[in-house]
């Protein structure tokens, strides 16, 4: 298979100091002259010996925690920035959406920006005009097209940016995080457009924290961890690996007691996901009982602590919450160490990654003892063949919950006889 993008042992180092002043260099030079050790500059290793290849026509994801080097990798692939070491090969025209407002100038109108950005991508005026209507239609900004971009809402800027990058015939489309900003309808169209490009045989690289989008849209994924490739392979497997890593990090964070308010009487020590036999796991089956177990240490007597556990799939807000505020099952009092279990007899969810949120409130429901926060991650695994890959691909912006339902067709009474 032909390679679209290849990174060969690529490193990228940044100097820690944001700005270099002439006086810094003067002091370095002076130190050299005086044969003293020059003041050291912190070096940030954004990427450290990264190698991977992405074949033409493949959709790949770059995943990793903040600061893992995802955006840096995209910037190197687009020649915005250059590697400190190693070599990068890129085949074909690259359309990139790195941060909102890529390539757009705030003083110019939407129309003028389309023209300019098209030229930056190497298209002729005629090429741009041919695609102009489709871009405007996709961006759906209507009248605003002739207003300066600075008057656009961030959503409109994003829509125009994505419309531009994805319609100016890129061989390779790089999308960084951006689709998280748009509304659900636009996210849906972005996903549809991206899968369309993939079907046309173009190469897609998606950087996102939205793991469910990645699982549905990407065949492959590359996991970056502190500037190195930690995993490279099938998207589902790599996402799984990432989740395990996140679990470990979360556990470590809880071990450091950093998630608790200063002086809070209640401390969460550990949150685990258990199956019906009490085994810890990170991948659950939708039709089996699943338990979230929160271990705590109460430094004082706490009367009627109200626990709430919520689930979401990376979108804002939880789609379900189990709260003692609602069901009134708060224990009379807790003290010392213990754990609380919240069990769902089944989790009728589509196969993706889900976050567990948890909070503990005081007796009357006022005042957070433990703030509402993400405490664990798990994924639901199901037989994908049963749901169908096509269905999964367009379900990124759709609801995660799968309630039991039936379909019934009735033929409409025919008009004639």
């Amino acid at each position: 298979m032909t390679t679209a993008i290849a990174f060969e042992d690529v490193s990228k180092h940044y100097r820690g100091a944001e700005y270099r002043m002439f006086r810094d260099d003067l002091s370095t030079a002076a130190a050299h002259l005086l044969r003293r050790a020059p003041p050291t500059h912190d070096v940030v290793r954004a990427l450290d010996g990264v190698s991977f290849e992405i074949p033409e026509g493949q959709s790949s994801a770059l995943i990793g925690l903040n600061g893992a080097g995802k955006t840096t990798a995209l910037k190197l692939a687009t020649r915005i920035a250059y590697p400190t070491e190693g070599r990068i090969r890129v085949r074909g025209r690259v359309g990139a959406l790195i941060e909102v407002g890529t390539g757009m100038h705030p003083e110019l109108t939407g129309r003028e920006n389309v023209q300019l950005y098209g030229r930056i991508l190497g298209l002729s005026r005629r090429d741009i005009n041919e695609r102009f209507d489709r871009i405007v239609e996709f961006a759906d900004i209507g009248e605003a097209l002739d207003r300066p971009v600075k008057q656009f809402s961030s959503g409109m800027q994003l829509r125009l940016g994505f419309a531009l990058a994805s319609h100016l015939e890129p061989d390779i489309l790089l999308v960084d995080e951006a689709i998280a900003v748009g509304d659900a309808g636009f996210q849906f169209r972005c996903v549809a457009r991206m899968s369309e490009l993939v079907r046309e045989g173009r190469t897609l690289i998606l950087v996102s924290h939205n793991l469910s989008a990645i699982e549905t849209l990407c065949q492959n994924a590359i996991l970056l961890r502190a500037g190195r490739v930690a995993a490279d392979g099938n998207a589902r497997d790599v996402v799984r690996q990432y989740l395990q890593a996140v679990q470990v990090d979360l556990a470590a964070a809880q071990g450091r007691e950093s998630t608790v308010r200063q002086g809070s009487p209640l401390e969460l020590t550990k949150v685990t996901i258990l199956d019906r036999h009490g085994n810890e796991l990170d991948a659950v089956k939708p039709d089996e009982p699943t338990t979230v177990r929160a271990h705590y240490r109460a430094h004082e007597r706490i009367e009627r602590p109200i626990f709430s556990v919520g689930l979401n799939d990376g979108q804002i807000g939880c789609f379900t919450v189990a709260s003692m505020l609602v069901d009134g099952q708060a224990p009379a009092v807790i003290e010392g160490e213990g754990h609380v279990d919240c069990t769902w007899p089944s989790l009728p969810l589509f196969p993706r990654s889900y976050w567990v949120w948890l909070s503990v409130r005081g007796a009357s429901g006022f005042g957070d003892i433990v703030d509402w926060q993400q405490v664990a991650v798990f994924s639901v695994v199901d037989d994908l063949e049963a749901t169908g890959r096509g269905a999964a691909t367009h379900s990124m912006a759709d609801a995660p919950v799968k309630l039991p339902y039936t379909w019934r067709f009735s033929a409409a009474p025919s008009q004639g006889r």
């Binding site: 915005i80 991508l121 298209l123």
Partner: protein, 314 residues
């Protein structure tokens, strides 16, 4: 890899020799026809190491010439979009300065003006100098003031200072008109020597671009440039024969001075053409053009060498 190139636009092939010091060399073609799926496109390769000037880079610059035009148009539009009197500023700046210098230097200090009215004498110098100063000054700021572009999109970076100098040309036009009208008012009719004007402007454009390459690149790394620049240009005003005559420079130094400071050559040329109805001094003008071209090339080499760090530092 198949040597077939498909699709219009930007198809570049760099071959990189990786030795201790990787060098970028060099073959690059534009793709021929249009279908996305047709043919295997060549790789663009980027290896670590400092940037430099290459044939491939120059060819790529040619591919991006429309971007240069786009940026220049953009800058002109932005400049006048919210300015109430718009292009009037391009006239006001040299005219008001000329009036001021006429009062202070022409009248009070009685600076010699080659036997012509001081106002016209100063205006000719100021139209040329104002163009150079605006072009060189804004070119030096061009990278820093477009940092959002530098951090988000790829294009050959030299496009920015060049487009800025190009945009400044738009302001020169009303200045030239004012100068011609003022000359007319003093009874000086147009002459064939006006044909030399494009050459004089070329000297200024080449000089301002070279200046802009160097300072814009340094500006990314050392923001001190931002503070030094107005001061530097102020010094330049007095180091060039704007308010005084080139004739004030002792004869044996005059030629060297006019060449080493190409702005001086252009200013003197403007004066000869517009005020004296004469041709510019041939040896000074061509010498200045040669020297300015050398600065241009050196500036570009310097610029390309630093170019790769722009997005990280801007």
């Amino acid at each position: 890899m198949g040597r077939r190139y498909a699709r219009r636009g930007l198809g570049l092939l760099f071959e990189v020799q990786t030795a201790d010091r990787p060098m970028m060399s060099i073959s690059m073609r534009r793709r021929a026809e249009t279908h996305p799926a047709a043919g295997v496109k060549p790789f663009v390769e980027v290896a670590a190491g400092p940037g430099g000037i290459s044939i491939a880079g120059l060819q790529e610059f040619w591919v991006f010439r429309e971007v240069l035009w786009g940026f220049a148009v953009r800058q002109v539009k932005i400049r006048y979009k919210q300015a109430v009197i718009g292009i009037g500023w391009a006239i006001l700046q040299p005219v008001v300065s000329a009036a001021l210098f006429t009062v202070v230097l022409g009248r009070l200090a009685s600076v010699a003006s080659e036997g012509k009215p001081y106002l016209l004498f100063a205006l000719a110098g100021l139209v040329a100098w104002t163009f150079f100063s605006n072009a060189a000054g804004s070119a030096s700021e061009s990278l820093v003031s477009n940092q959002s572009l530098l951090r988000k999109v790829y294009f050959p970076r030299e496009v920015l200072p060049l487009a800025t100098v190009g945009a400044a040309l738009v302001d020169l036009v009303p200045g030239l008109v004012v100068l011609a009208v003022a000359a007319g008012l003093y009874g000086i009719a147009p002459s064939v020597a006006w044909l030399a004007i494009p050459l004089l402007i070329l000297v200024l454009v080449v000089f301002a671009s070279g200046f802009g390459f160097c300072l814009s690149a340094i500006n990314v790394y050392y923001r001190d440039v931002r503070y030094a620049l107005p001061f530097l240009l102020q010094l330049g005003l007095f180091a060039s024969p704007v308010v005084y005559s080139l004739q004030a420079v002792p004869g044996r130094w005059r030629e060297l001075y006019g060449i080493l400071n190409p702005a001086a050559a252009a200013i003197d040329g403007f004066r000869r053409v517009f005020v004296h109805r004469d041709w510019p001094d041939v040896s000074i003008t061509l010498g200045a053009l040669g020297w300015a071209s050398m600065l241009f090339v050196l500036g570009l080499v310097f610029f390309k060498r630093l170019e790769r760090g722009f997005a990280d530092r801007a």
